[in-house]
Symmetry: C2
Subunit: 307 residues, 2 copies
């Protein structure tokens, strides 16, 4: 349903080259988590989720726009194993086709049924401004030494979690959920997103190299401020003897440092707490278990994922 | 009214640095042509134009977003006599705050009254996608030798004219004009925009250096494909003796070449034709002359402007 929607997007025809990078981005894959969440939320309240499909595609378009521009800003060479747009074409193409993707995403959102257009547009707008603020904080944190855990959590909330909340809330609103139900699903999504990002931080150290997809220790090597690093440094600065090792030794020493300082345990506890909070939200929906089984298994999988 | 609206924008507070370049762009000045057109169009149909103010501000925000990202793509050093955002801050800041401006513009557009939200959003979306396509064609033309006049006209229609049409149509729709009236005003705006851009091409050669604001001959020196150059080259390629002159001589030789080939006359005729077409649109509105006087004087001023 989602793939078909993505394949059937009507691209404007006056400057066809503008949309080649857009198609390239969308063909790059990804798990389509956000549009799936839109449809799953809608499906809690209605069997006919057709009205939610185009807005769901709009959100996926928007998500891919953020990836495209983030890749430019991060000078990332690859995404999903393929050259990033600014390397395959050039930076101007990446900027402009990203801008077009943001506009296209709004064109899709504008096709939300009229009874909830304003509400869905407001959710979408708030999400988009928050995402931009999250990216801004992420870039600022790179040049700051004293980032605290609450600041870090706020950054990942904005940069990655609110979009999961927005996806669920959009689906709920389209399917005529009550405002309370829509808000509960939003909160579920944000907590799930926080757990997801912290799990990502943890997997960088202890993920299965066969399935994780990224190099184990990548965050450590580029000195990325993750939950683990911020937590560990708040207890004890890393010994200067870490310098001058081989990369593999350096990664191992950092992993031990994260364990020794209690950062690893703290990270796992935080993940469990966010998953528990997410599950509490679902319980507050007062719906039969079989309705919620998909969302519950999503939360359970997330806590135990190794990839 | 417009300046007050721009001054009173409620910026999000979670990452305040993100909005410093946004404010900087909006403080840079500009003639506020687009929001003024929104309000002038609304005023044709209603005395109370309050409903049109926020959407007008949204369009001005969007316009400034396109300027910001165009400056990055063009590596422009200055705008309105001040450093461009990517030089005053850096390129990443310019990309991200531009993205935020596009999102903010939609947040303002979303405050359009509900009776016409969908219609205004559709006009805005179509405009935005067309602007992106215009910029794409403009970039492609830089690397192409064989751009024809119809292609050039189509490019400037997309890149600069449709936004004037969209401004007027938005104002008309908000003020409950009929679809025919709204479309006539759109056509008026597009013709006005085409005349404006061709006048800009002409002023690059024969404008008053005291008031034009840009260096006379700037387009000639950077080999920009303008109406004059494309028309002239379709008659006669510029003699190779143009090379190796001083800049002032080079500009003078090109101006003579544009006159000799008839490109100058052709350009003035085209401007008059688009202004005439614009005026025809106004006549089709069947409104008392005093109602239309502001728009008519705008068209007249444009044809005779020297700055």
């Amino acid at each position: 349903m989602i793939q078909k929607g993505l394949d059937n997007i009507d691209y404007p025809t006056l400057a066809p080259n503008l949309f080649e990078p857009v198609k390239y981005m969308l063909e790059g894959g990804g798990k389509r988590v956000r549009p799936t969440l839109v449809l799953m939320a809608a499906n809690l309240f209605t069997d006919d989720i057709q009205d939610a499909v185009i807005p769901a595609i709009g959100l996926e378009m928007y998500h891919n726009f953020t990836l495209l521009h983030d890749d430019v800003m991060d000078k990332a060479p690859e995404r999903h194993g393929r050259k990033t747009v600014h390397l395959r074409w050039n930076e101007n193409v990446a900027i402009l086709s990203g801008d077009a993707m943001q506009a296209l995403s709004y064109q899709l959102i504008a096709r939300t049924p009229s009874y909830c257009l304003k509400e869905v547009l407001d959710i979408f707008n708030q999400n988009n401004i928050e995402i931009d603020q999250g990216q801004q904080l992420d870039m600022e944190f790179e040049n700051r030494g004293n980032v605290t855990l609450p600041e870090y959590i706020e950054m990942i909330r904005l940069k990655t979690s609110v979009m999961l909340g927005a996806a669920l809330k959009m689906g709920a609103v389209i399917a005529k959920a009550t405002p309370e139900q829509a808000q509960i699903l939003y909160d579920f999504g944000v907590n799930l997103g926080l757990a997801f990002q912290l799990q990502d931080d943890w997997l960088d150290c202890w993920g299965d190299p066969k399935t994780f997809g990224k190099r184990i220790g990548g965050d450590i090597l580029c000195n990325k401020k993750t939950y683990l690093r911020i937590k560990a440094e708040s207890k004890l600065m890393p010994p200067s003897t870490f310098r001058g090792q081989t990369e593999e030794q350096y990664i191992e020493m950092y992993k031990n440092y994260f364990i020794m300082t209690g950062a690893e345990v703290s990270c796992r506890n935080a993940i469990s707490e966010y998953v528990a909070k997410a599950n509490e939200c679902l319980n507050r929906l007062n719906m039969p278990d079989e309705k919620l089984s998909l969302l519950k298994s999503l939360a359970a999988k997330l806590e135990n994922r190794n990839a």
